[in-house]
């Protein structure tokens, strides 16, 4: 985890999208809808998904345990999950 920064929903969304772009460079993320299954829509395998979570932990300081994978499967779910758990919100 890096130095704690102040994230608004907009910045957070930017970080998430840029990480997703790194995993699926060929996908057009502007067509991704909030409730699409991220892994299915972008064809992200379990290895890449774990790398995605590792990167999020490093960038925003939220470590998502395995039991919560079900809550972060969509963009909307992931955003909600992260927003209430950002370091300064606790």
């Amino acid at each position: 985890m890096n130095a704690v920064k102040n994230f608004g929903p907009k910045e957070l969304r930017q970080i998430v999208l840029s990480q997703l772009h790194g995993l699926a460079p060929e996908a057009d993320l502007s067509t991704l809808r909030p409730h699409d299954d991220l892994r299915e829509t972008l064809e992200i395998d379990s290895f890449d998904f774990l790398n995605f979570l590792i990167a999020l932990d490093q960038e925003v300081g939220v470590e998502i345990p395995e039991k919560d994978y079900g809550k972060v499967g969509t963009l909307a779910g992931l955003m909600d999950y992260l927003l209430v758990r950002l370091p300064e919100a606790t």
């Binding site: 699926a24 060929e26 299915e40 395998d45 379990s46 290895f47 774990l50 979570l53 932990d57 395995e66």
Partner: protein, 381 residues
């Protein structure tokens, strides 16, 4: 004086391009040392050497397209120990020609095009030299003919090359291997709770994936049922000593590679995860080692990751089995008359019926199931 030859990095490879020498003449090399980088349809491969010795001189320069089996360099094994150096000179020309395969340039080119292995041909020319007619004769004997490859592609049509390599191997598999298929459902409750507990103890960077459990379970099941671990060569099953699991890794741009995880049965959970991570990253960036492409004794494909329920795979020749894992999903499960919902994995086995029978395959799947029911023992020494 030993010849270091262009290795066959898969059943489908006909030639490779020598991209880079990692050593210079006069270098003392050790077994397993990377000595060159070769461009193939599976990416750029770091080629290892399998004997100790002094690199005498190169047979080809960087940039050369070299057929499988043709010499790349000469290694003096007698000079392996410094202190008693042999004369560090290139071997006399005569000695060279005695050891290398005598073949005309035209024949060599034709052999590469037709996929003929030069080491398997008795030449009919002077001093046993192989000529164009010998190649054509050998190519006709390989019946039915496989589609001829049009030389090795450059980077631009890498994908087309990869497609063609897969086409060749799979055509051969479907033509030569009488497959049988078995399937079983495995209750993953215990395995997943063990995994979750393990992962709670680790920082996120060291988390284990279910694939680690599955690979280890396959490896241990093969210890019990070794008949599925090996190769079908010369009309007989050769059971392999080591258990090297070829793990199918799909590439986003299309195609797949199945590099080997060496001695998977002997690895701990963290070691296996680290090796898997390293292997996936190097497969994607196109930096595998030759031994990883050639050593797999069985293949595991894990398509469940992308939502598929079960996989009935095609065996990668000359291997004799392929294990397929589907998605782990909640299913209705009946046990001791009780109806419940469990996380269930569909495991399949594709077996080569020349090498084994369904009974052997069934023993393997049963053993796999038992191992996954006792996950804590899976990694116990």
């Amino acid at each position: 004086m030993a010849e270091f030859r262009m290795p066959s990095l898969g059943a489908d490879m006909q030639s490779g391009k020598l991209l880079e020498w990692k050593v210079a003449p006069g270098t003392l090399v050790k077994r397993g040392q990377v000595v060159a980088v070769v461009g193939t349809e599976k990416g750029d491969i770091e080629v290892e050497v399998f004997e100790e010795g002094l690199i005498q001189n190169f047979a080809v320069q960087e940039g050369a397209e070299v057929p499988v089996g043709a010499p790349l360099a000469w290694i003096d094994g007698g000079a392996a120990h410094p202190g008693q150096p042999e004369k560090n000179a290139p071997p006399p020309a005569v000695e060279k020609t005695e050891q290398r395969i005598r073949v005309s340039p035209l024949a060599r080119k034709l052999a590469a095009e037709l996929g003929v292995d030069l080491t398997q041909i008795q030449g009919s020319g002077p001093h046993g030299a192989i000529d164009k007619d010998d190649i054509e004769r050998a190519a006709r004997q390989t019946a039915p003919p496989l589609p001829a490859a049009e030389g090795t592609p450059g980077k631009a049509d890498f994908q087309a090359g990869m497609r063609r390599a897969i086409a060749l191997a799979m055509t051969r598999a479907n033509r030569d291997i009488p497959h049988y298929y078995l399937e079983c459902r495995i209750d993953m409750t215990r395995a997943l709770s063990w995994l979750e507990a393990e992962n709670l103890k680790r920082p996120i960077q060291n988390r284990l994936l279910p694939a680690v459990l599955l690979i280890k379970a396959v490896a241990k099941a093969l210890v019990k049922v070794p008949q599925l671990n090996g190769y079908w060569t010369e009309d007989a099953l050769q059971i392999a000593e080591g258990i090297h699991i070829g793990f199918a890794i799909a590439l986003r741009q299309g195609g797949l590679v199945t590099p080997a995880i060496h001695h998977a049965d002997l690895q701990g959970a963290d070691e296996l995860m680290a090796n898997l991570r390293d292997l996936i990253l190097r497969t994607r960036s196109g930096r595998l080692r030759s031994s990883e492409l050639t050593d797999a004794t069985i293949t595991v494909t894990h398509l469940g990751d992308l939502g598929v329920e079960k996989v009935f795979g095609v065996i990668y020749p000359p291997q004799v089995a392929l294990v397929g894992f589907g998605k782990i999903s909640e299913e209705v499960w009946v046990e001791k008359g009780m109806l419940g919902v469990r996380p269930v994995l569909h495991a399949t086995l594709a077996g080569d019926h020349r090498a084994s029978d369904g009974r052997t395959g069934a023993e393997f799947l049963e053993s796999l199931d038992q191992l996954l029911q006792a996950p804590e023992a899976l990694f116990a020494a």
